[in-house]
Symmetry: D2
Subunit: 435 residues, 4 copies
Amino acid sequence: MPAESPFQTQRDAAAERRGPVTAATIIIIIIIIIIMAPAGAKKGILERLDAGEVVIGDGGFVFALEKRGYVKAGPWTPEAAAEHPEAVRQLHREFLRAGSNVMQTFTFYASDDKLENRGHTQTFTGQQINEAACDLAREVADEGDALVAGGVSQTPSYLSCKSQDDVKATFKKQLDVFVKKNVDFLIAEYFEHVEEAEWAVQVLKTTGKPVAATLCIGPEGDLNGVSPGDCAARLVKAGAQIVGVNCHFDPDTSVKTVKMMKEGVEKAGLKAHYMCQPLAYHTPDCNCQGFIDLPEFPFSLEPRILTRWDMQKYARDAYDAGIRYIGGCCGFEPYHVRALAEELAPERGFLPAGSDKHGNWGSGLEMHTKPWVRARARRDYWEKLKPASGRPLCPSMSMPDSWGVTKGHADLMQQKEATSQEQLKALFDKANKGQ
Amino acid sequence: MPAESPFQTQRDAAAERRGPVTAATIIIIIIIIIIMAPAGAKKGILERLDAGEVVIGDGGFVFALEKRGYVKAGPWTPEAAAEHPEAVRQLHREFLRAGSNVMQTFTFYASDDKLENRGHTQTFTGQQINEAACDLAREVADEGDALVAGGVSQTPSYLSCKSQDDVKATFKKQLDVFVKKNVDFLIAEYFEHVEEAEWAVQVLKTTGKPVAATLCIGPEGDLNGVSPGDCAARLVKAGAQIVGVNCHFDPDTSVKTVKMMKEGVEKAGLKAHYMCQPLAYHTPDCNCQGFIDLPEFPFSLEPRILTRWDMQKYARDAYDAGIRYIGGCCGFEPYHVRALAEELAPERGFLPAGSDKHGNWGSGLEMHTKPWVRARARRDYWEKLKPASGRPLCPSMSMPDSWGVTKGHADLMQQKEATSQEQLKALFDKANKGQ
Amino acid sequence: MPAESPFQTQRDAAAERRGPVTAATIIIIIIIIIIMAPAGAKKGILERLDAGEVVIGDGGFVFALEKRGYVKAGPWTPEAAAEHPEAVRQLHREFLRAGSNVMQTFTFYASDDKLENRGHTQTFTGQQINEAACDLAREVADEGDALVAGGVSQTPSYLSCKSQDDVKATFKKQLDVFVKKNVDFLIAEYFEHVEEAEWAVQVLKTTGKPVAATLCIGPEGDLNGVSPGDCAARLVKAGAQIVGVNCHFDPDTSVKTVKMMKEGVEKAGLKAHYMCQPLAYHTPDCNCQGFIDLPEFPFSLEPRILTRWDMQKYARDAYDAGIRYIGGCCGFEPYHVRALAEELAPERGFLPAGSDKHGNWGSGLEMHTKPWVRARARRDYWEKLKPASGRPLCPSMSMPDSWGVTKGHADLMQQKEATSQEQLKALFDKANKGQ
Amino acid sequence: MPAESPFQTQRDAAAERRGPVTAATIIIIIIIIIIMAPAGAKKGILERLDAGEVVIGDGGFVFALEKRGYVKAGPWTPEAAAEHPEAVRQLHREFLRAGSNVMQTFTFYASDDKLENRGHTQTFTGQQINEAACDLAREVADEGDALVAGGVSQTPSYLSCKSQDDVKATFKKQLDVFVKKNVDFLIAEYFEHVEEAEWAVQVLKTTGKPVAATLCIGPEGDLNGVSPGDCAARLVKAGAQIVGVNCHFDPDTSVKTVKMMKEGVEKAGLKAHYMCQPLAYHTPDCNCQGFIDLPEFPFSLEPRILTRWDMQKYARDAYDAGIRYIGGCCGFEPYHVRALAEELAPERGFLPAGSDKHGNWGSGLEMHTKPWVRARARRDYWEKLKPASGRPLCPSMSMPDSWGVTKGHADLMQQKEATSQEQLKALFDKANKGQ
């Protein structure tokens, strides 16, 4: 074994036999386990976290499915759950194989106010999309050791200054589907303002199911400048049992932010579990708005994509910071999640099914035809490598846009009709002036 | 329409109506067209190319499926066709939606000598894998206007100095499946030595089906130093009707190489169609071995991934160079193929189904919530942007490994048993010394 | 006039006539002014600053003379003042021509304890070096409108934990020369610990001459973690009339630090003038030790050198921050100082003599032979340009060494004998382990 | 001795004693040698080269003196020789101390047609400037073991299509001064067209003095596309005993070009000595016009400046390529020349005077106060280091301007009056369109 890992040195005898085990065998074993397990035997999310287990999340669906041709960048809505269920099911399966313990329903931006935005019309109703998403998540979750999490996210209504009642009613409509479909727990995610996240948590708490809440913020705090520590304490007080961040920032920044949250919660004398689902993009140059403000968002982010080795570092950093719910968001592909599961295999005691098609730290390269590629089948090669961009005309960092507008600004108001040419021209002019 | 394209200015009245057409409608239209078409009514590959039509290829399967968890980097073998048909089918479908006119059977490295390599054993036989791959390609090709191409590629037998007869027998075994499954045409691809490619073409020609042949070479020629022009002329003489390159180099380098091939063919008084299926990675720093020699291969290539805008430039460059079969190889995701189809929409007269989830030059961003992102819904924004890597500690170029060993070298010999620890240690030492 | 500057738009009628004025004319005018001025008629440093005038400092001598072959990197001692007076005189003259109002005596590290360090012996005594440096500074200062400043800097004695009396005695020896040579004012510069700087100020104050004090610190404060604001307040209380930073950080970081100092002084209800003499190297990646910790220090800093346009931005930023004593340190060449003087020409009312060989914002290029270079004779060209490194194998940022040792650590102790091979080997091993 | 060099391992016992020798001692020895030598005892340039000795050239004066405030970028004329002789003398001295065996007269662009260009008038006549330059070079050459070389360079007359007689008359005027001042040999340098260089060589040959000729070309050849090999053969046939390149390209490119010249000369059955005086800027991105076409020329080239270690590599590469006259051009500072002399100390048998202020491969750092800097006092540290730019918003390569105009184009015509605003505006427009 050329590529050493904590797992390989610590794992028990049973795992030692893995070498000759094929993917097929692993799947058969998994199926047997599932068949033998009594219905409802899966441990709940809080049971796992209370027991100190690592929970591997999944990756973001809108970016992954945009690249596959099923989601439109701009509206970012999840109608594919109803329109192209085979594509959504396949992505769920890939994350499951990669080691995910949670199948999030593909219900991001599936609130009615968001589905009909700026000229984007839908063939399916919001309810149909939410229901289809629940069914797909449950179907695949049942193929392995995964739970279903129903998710709500920030609403255009809030940005447009609708009342607390209106915003809460929006969450309630999605929640009704989650209750009907009996998801295992709930996530309020991708909130830029802690106030809106509190409202979401308050609504989700009415079900009695466990509630997780993540903000899309960095060390500077939410868009009103509330610090990560204060945000986290407020979310715990609102009823969230798991708090953390998702999206908008890279793993380094996100782990740092969750650490600040943990300090805030502990300083307030509260308790919580911690969760991190960052981008799979390097964003050292972001301001408080995260990658939305980077000039490369959303169509030229490729050079920033994390490697699997970057992901192993993230998994270890998150674990060391006391975070136990470790997943991903935009940019994550199944192999990124697999890297999290491989890094934390010593702690979890097993490798995911998908690792049969990998091998720790590149050990699969032992079978490569070219000898100089076989010479890369080792951990220290990949850990030390500083990958080149192949783009000598490009810089390493960008200056983010910094329009600095937030809730209440005219340009952020929800409108049903498409953006007009006049509206666009005004925006183009404003952007060009800023250069 | 903020984002101008040749298509939008040149397209005919029928296309003009596309605006409000949804993906669903397009699929219905496609289904109607398919139903109405008599069996076998699809135009063959040579009919299309002779008529001057653009043929959009698909992308590489091994890299895409490695990221999804179904292919092992190192052996790079296609057993997933039999093991996980749903994953392979889904990828075919995504390429079809993106605009591909060709479904290549997922039979890369599916020769028997390659399937059993360096300790990598298979649950399925070579015949089972090849058959499953043909069935999947045909199933999805029948869902749209695509042809099925059976593909063979370089063999370990050739590198191990087996006889011409032995090597040809290896190709023949795969070919028997292709004939039985009645693929529409054949591709001999990914050859580093023109001699082996000639042998492959000679075998494939025996079927009477059209034959395409691509080498994985750059402007320096094949690994024996035969120039691209001479390579191409030899392949045409061997019977290939379509010649070009695939894999190993980025689009810029590959288009340049095919231009050299075209000059060679014309200088020899011959005629052919031209084909280009490059990497989706920027490789300005490669030597003659292509991206295999880059230190980032295969696990840290992320910063080199082309954007969709890079792809539009590639499609235009290839078209302008007289290349009409334009596709991709390793690194291509469905959205990369869609970009080719969008760039060449004026020439083809239509957009692919997947463009319903995109919009030319980022016009889908008109529906984004944040006004400064709506300000990016225009061509000149994306064309001018020089995307940052987000990696300030990394360089922009690498020094390739340059072991310079090829056919006949001891380190390249095929062996069934796994690479031993002693063998690995020798390779690691050699690699470290080279640094 | 293609290249616009605030100076050109704001300058008065007299300056408007500058166009056809040659360098010779300017020099003649300067000579006339000098001849007409009564002896001792020059305004003192505090008179100038109290009147709100901009004072342009000079650049660092040790780095400039190291490149010219007269200073040894490592010891960094100023024996060239006695050994090669023509080289030191010439550099003074170049800074004077570039617009400097201050000639600092080349007495950096000219304390006796530093001159005899780790095997570095001297042909001249400390007193001889200090006296020669004073004579040279005075000679050139008298050729223009410049003052002579005698400078002391941090001592090995302090790092080696000598007593306050011992350290003060060290400063006193240099000061005796400054008094004898009647310098115009005094500078305590390049202190890493505010405590040692306070001691220096207390000694310098005994002369009754104006005293400036600069620390080589960034926003994180001195090496004991005392904040810039607190450092500055302590220096003012110790008697310094001018406070600020020099060396160790780039202009962006240094201006930011002086702003923090200003806030600290004002918060303490004190008053002072502010001074900034940063590096001419970009150092966004520094930690609290500044560029000493960068792996490129001191022999591979070239890619970080600021352009003249970067310097104009620095001069403007410093001015806008309320800093009026604006100069430079290591890395500054005469053209860098000239850029400061050109940027602040509107405020000062005149251009330096050296600008006769330049022209604002590249306007001298109007005379270039090649038309595309004449096309660069304009401000917006140079302001927008992002200069390439020409080093595709190099990164844009470095990880600083962070040994984190300071005053009192065994490795920092002064020793007269040369570093032994054993001592060196221990250091090399320690450094390699850290990689 | 931590930093090993070929010199240190190969040098003889006498050199071994160098350790404790101070700069002063070396200078005294040099003075003794000079005093003892009979007048005219210095070996001529051809004697040295015929004997296989290494001749170290000097660096470029226009760029070095531009930074010091005595030359105007744009006209790049050498009036400082008459206007500010102390500055020119000092630079000569620094190159001498650094190890230069040649003092080139500062007569670049000192032809009468160039001195009065586009509104740039002179206080001194061409003859005065040329004479002053000869006197300064001789004065300093006499202080050490250096020869005086009189230099002519390309003329505006040639670009403006003046007759061969006119162009030759221009060279003749400078040559008359060189003969009167009895320089040791002649250099025709910085020619972009081999034809003009041939004319220059023919004129210089009339004196009977040795003639060197260098073109400012790269591997693509002169601006008419004449290959380096053909250029060199033509120059040798015209009478040059030493041929090579200077300016316009970095050391890597220049050594490569001189190798091509050597092959051309040898292929033509001729014999010559070879010479290389490249830029001190990295220019991997240049086209045939060299660094003039880079967008950073001439005011933002800083990030491209070579380190002393880059220079040692250049000296070794040039030596290994059979080049024996090894010097520099624009961008070279004295420490760059010293690096050449240090690298070739084993071949030359001695270190230059200036090395007393350096120490091989950074060994002077043994005396640094900070232990982690002392840990850098070794060759492998500096050889492996990839220096960062400190500029994360900048790329590593540029797209050169490529106006592609040469001799005869209207925009290149000489004109005495200043470039008018209309002319400038036309150029700015043309440049902006090209972006």
